[in-house]
Amino acid sequence: MKLSNVLLASMITSVLGVSAQEDDTEKDSLTSQFSTEIELPKASSTINLIDDQKNIKDSIKIRSSKKKVYKAIKTTPTNKYQHRCPGCGRG
């Protein structure tokens, strides 16, 4: 089933958030795959905002830094969310 861009963007944002928490330096194949396929206006604008705020001259360097980019677009506080009870798998 085809999902809306809004939903996919929300999912990608969540995934990128957890990726940043897990590993700030290692290249993530999933992230790379989707960053080239789906436009994320919110994430991009946030990155630009971070660029402006920090007044970093070399924007290319910022965009190649996975750590900084991922932290900038992380919007879902996944560590606050607890799914205590998995649906099945209790046998």
Binding site: T13, V18, L30, T78, R84, P86, R90
Partner: protein, 355 residues
């Protein structure tokens, strides 16, 4: 009668970022045709991930959302505010989202408290049957959609395995309900008691199997056990035995509409876990694509929900309490005629989930 070409393949949703990371390529590739959501597993007003309500809304809008309850306690002989509240929550849930169907687990919950426990097997008596029918009628009345139950993995002995199917038929028949055939649960029964999987599967009311669950699990090699026990932990790869059997199972289920692939959110610890998850999904997809089945929609029947007061059986309730207490104690009670290793596993599960 409407003819549906093939069952839809989907996944069970876990609102966990690691799960989502593993499943995202499947969603993005438009391969997830249906989703199943255990709506009663969110505890209180805990914050949801932003994508979850969006996902439920989109699948709901296309009638591709299945509800799968965990904590209704279908065969609990007592009735109280817990079940009342659960049904109210279900009513609210079905007003919020358009669920194509609602299902629950066969068995007795190991805990009397909401949000705890695991489904326990127990004696399949006529009094238990009356309780189950009453609870299913209430489930159907609250959900206002097709309702069904899933077979149980943990089974106390060989006889209970082969009796479960007939009991489930008697349970769902009065509400024109359906069966979820969990193939990994069958695999557990098969491995733990040395019974051929197809023999077990054919002991279920195959004509009522509307949904199949597929998952992996794990082997319990605890030194306290006299043999290795297969457990339905939803954390490993899908066993090849299940995939090999799948074409044959597809061929004998005439109303099968959905296949749901399940994996526990906590089991996605490394990148390879996500890769394996997608690989298992693709294996199922390939088998489904290669199958030459053509299924029919489940026949609708006029059911009158004459709901009187909830059925309560205090004698059975005391028996259920005694079973829970006995399992919690860890001391084997031969009067229950359980396999000793399964009893020990049940004790371990009690410690894990009743907290």
């Amino acid at each position: 009668m409407i003819s549906i070409k093939k069952p839809r393949l989907g996944i069970s949703i876990v609102p966990n970022s690691k799960f989502l990371k593993a499943a995202l390529p499947l969603f993005a590739a438009q391969q997830v045709e249906i989703v199943e959501w255990s709506f009663d597993t969110l505890k209180g007003a805990i914050q949801q991930p932003a994508w979850l309500p969006l996902l439920l809304k989109e699948y709901s809008a296309k009638n591709r959302l299945l509800g799968h309850g965990v904590f209704y306690a279908l065969l609990d002989a007592n009735w109280g505010s817990r079940q009342e509240n659960w049904l109210k929550r279900l009513e609210q849930e079905t007003l919020t989202h358009n669920y194509a169907q609602i299902s629950e687990h066969f068995g007795l919950m190991s805990s009397e408290n909401a949000h705890e426990g695991f489904p326990l097997p127990f004696s399949l008596s006529n009094s238990a049957l009356q309780i189950g029918i009453d609870r299913l009628k209430r489930l159907r009345a609250a959900a206002r959609v097709d309702v069904g139950i899933e077979n149980l993995a943990l089974t106390p002995n060989t006889l209970a395995i082969l009796d479960q199917g007939e009991f489930m038929f008697k349970l769902v028949n009065p509400v024109n309900g359906f069966i979820i055939l969990d193939l990994h649960n069958v695999y557990c029964q098969s491995e733990n008691f040395g019974i051929d999987m197809m023999t077990i599967i054919k002991s279920y009311p195959i004509s009522l199997v509307k949904e199949i669950h597929i998952s992996g699990g794990s082997w319990d090699n605890d030194p306290s056990l006299t043999r290795t026990i297969r457990r339905d932990t939803h954390d490993g790869r899908v066993p090849e035995a299940i995939l090999e059997l799948l074409p044959e199972v597809l061929a004998i289920c005439p109303i099968l509409e959905y296949i749901i692939f399940e994996k526990m959110g906590d089991s996605f610890q490394m990148e390879i876990d996500g890769i394996n998850f997608r690989a298992d999904f693709q294996k199922i997809r390939k088998i489904l694509d290669a199958s030459a089945i053509s299924i029919k929609a489940k026949e609708e029947k006029e059911i009158t929900d004459n709901l009187g007061p909830p059925v309560i059986d205090l004698e059975l309730f005391q028996e259920q309490k005694a079973l829970r207490k006995s399992i919690a104690s860890g001391k084997y009670d031969s009067s229950y005629e359980w396999d000793k290793d399964i009893w020990r596993v049940a004790t371990k599960l009690y410690k894990k989930w009743n907290n």
